[in-house]
Symmetry: none
Subunit: 222 residues, 4 copies
DNA sequence: AATGAATGAGCTTTCATTCAT
DNA sequence: AATGAATGAAAGCTCATTCAT
């Protein structure tokens, strides 16, 4: 259906003006910025590029986030907040220790696979030596919960006599995270060198099984 | 009149210097560039900053390496060449399978620990989706040797009946690499969030033991 | 989410404040603006900076003064009004001509010394070629009184046979003003170049004596 | 005469390329910048405006002067250097003390009259509290010569018994400078308020006579 | 083969101001 | 009468690169 120019203006007006929904504008900017920063890094990202893909202007970005760096920190905070939210919904406390570990790994490997931007942002923040994360209060007290969760599982397994007694929860978290993270963050170089195609069907399951086996055989201490 | 920073670069160029040793000049540039790219990423690195810390001028960089990207690729090629050279010197073929795995892990974790710039450069190249690595012929046929080595160890372990039969050498390499790489590449974010200090004495040994135990218990398939 | 500076200005606005005393609000704005304009000039002054140090918001400035320039004119008008008020209180008409000149100089040098912002604002307005002052009606008929006063003193001195007959009151005003003004307006460059410290005790008295002597010896025409 | 497009390009090429004469380019920039800074102040001046009136680009300004502030300092240095050069050419040492003072005043009042940008730049620098002048080494040791010159004149007059014994050369320099400077720097506000037209023929001579008389009658101490 | 001089294009950010009630 | 929210326009500056020999 062809619209006259006037009708088109009306069409546009019907959409609730961005002006009236700042939260939505912020979310819009944040979503676009997440993609841009994850794609090109903090220095590689272009404020112009973000603005162009947003419904607002560059000026709005500075109004809401203060600076390119401020926007980046907001992106980082949201990324960490999101994974924490998912982790908080795992409910591993009711499962048998071994099943809990399997489920934790399932969650972790799947989250990384489905949210590659998270791994990319974390890589980028590490290139910057985590200076923004260190300065962000909101991230600081976010991520201890997962350690408590793992601690609980390990303790229960130990009490049942099936897990080793010297397993440090942070190290265990790192063993799992490293694999799940690397699978995503390094798939380009690793894939190029060793001719691996991580998107092949079955690859996720194969790797989930492998890291699960490795972690559990280590925990069971044989 | 006070000299501008740009003009000062000119001044420096007046010093006659290494006009007659191009290889040395190239090596000098490469060393400085490695640090700069590893520190700030491909986009974050500054050609001016590299030139300033070099014995030559910015112009020489373009003369020898063509472009910032050309220099980056040269840095990447050297980084991969270096680790391959170390791997080639491991001589694991004469060791018992289990000892070979322990030694491989020892080499890998130590190399990453001592050469953090390697992990950083690989992270950076992954942010760029390995497009430069994919385009570089010299890297392409570099890194298969390590897979052959692992394949051989696994085969010998399997023939001795001590290793599982379904261990894929590339996956095994990834399991080891992921942990050793993550320890270094992600130490800033991981350290900040979980209050870990990776430089603490004993940390390397603890992690070496852990990943060694995990890999071997998995390989031994119990 | 951390607040941007712009957002913080909003926050501040939440405080209910002086909603009901517009005159007080205007005075508040004017005082802050005087400092800002005197410190940084018309172009160097920042509306944001003024708003930040005010009890109100930036919006109020525009509501009450129309524009940055409107606020600047108001500041200028107040500055000229203030010095005129002081001049009007001098009461030189009852003094002997020579004593009147001494007292006029005392008033002038002291006023400039104690109100450096006045000299700064006048300097700034001259940089702008007095275009705002020329447009302001309220300033136009302000400053003739001082000329009348000087005229009267000079006439009385001439009639007494102690002052020269060709002294132009405007030129005499300039001779005095130039010295008193320069002492304050140019103290930074003059002090830096000739190592003068104008704040040294005794400096004001020394200069008062000097300009008094120079003016009177000229007036007495020897 | 109409030129073809090709011919016009040739025409332009005949002009010796700016590229080949950096000193000329710098001088060109400096001259335009002096006008712009004198007209609008440091903050009011626009780098774009300077570039537009120059034969080069904005980039060249940053190449040669580093920053807007660097350019401003260069302008200031040239302005002070120029007046010092004129002062150095006065040769007052051969004149009788009284004639020397008259000539010094003649020089000073004329220089200020003919170079109003100098007074404007000095006013501007005082608004900035002479921070750039204080930081500039080249200006620091420029302006002592004039004090030496005045010192010498005063000493000779004192030895002859015609000048007072307590005349401080710096204060005397200020007495003269203040009047000559104010005449130019404040002519806009002063003229607007007291209806003075400083460009009227005879005005310069009248003021020269006046400040000469005032200074000499003070020096002669009557 | 090597290099001093110069630059086009585009970057982040800031500014006074207006919109909309 | 008064104000919270938002912004168009332009500012200073930096970047990798090329010109010209």
């Amino acid at each position: 259906m062809m619209l006259t120019e006037e009708a088109m203006l009306k069409e546009k007006a019907r959409v609730p003006s961005r002006r009236n929904d700042p939260e939505r504008t912020k979310r819009d900017i944040l979503a676009v910025a997440t993609k841009e920063f994850a794609d090109h890094g903090l220095t590689g990202a272009r404020v112009d590029a973000i603005a162009a893909r947003t419904k607002t202007t560059k000026r709005a970005i500075y109004y809401y986030f203060g600076s390119k760096e401020g926007l980046y920190v907001a992106v980082l905070e949201k990324a960490y907040g999101d994974i924490r939210a998912v982790e908080a919904g795992m409910h591993l406390e009711g499962l048998e220790p071994e099943a809990a570990i399997r489920k934790l790994i399932d969650f972790t490997i799947t989250y990384h696979e489905e949210n590659p931007d998270f791994s990319r942002l974390v890589s980028i923040e590490n290139i910057h030596r985590a200076e923004h994360l260190a300065a962000s209060e909101s991230i600081q007290n976010l991520n201890v919960a997962i350690i408590r969760t793992i601690e609980d599982i390990v303790r229960r397994g130990r009490e049942k006599g099936i897990f080793r007694t010297d397993a440090d929860p942070v190290d265990l978290h790192m063993l799992i995270s490293a694999f799940c993270f690397f699978r995503v963050s390094n798939r380009y170089t690793f894939g190029a060198i060793f001719n691996q195609d991580f998107s092949e069907p079955g690859n996720l399951e194969k790797h989930k099984q492998m890291i699960g086996d490795a972690v559990l055989s280590w925990l069971k201490g044989c």
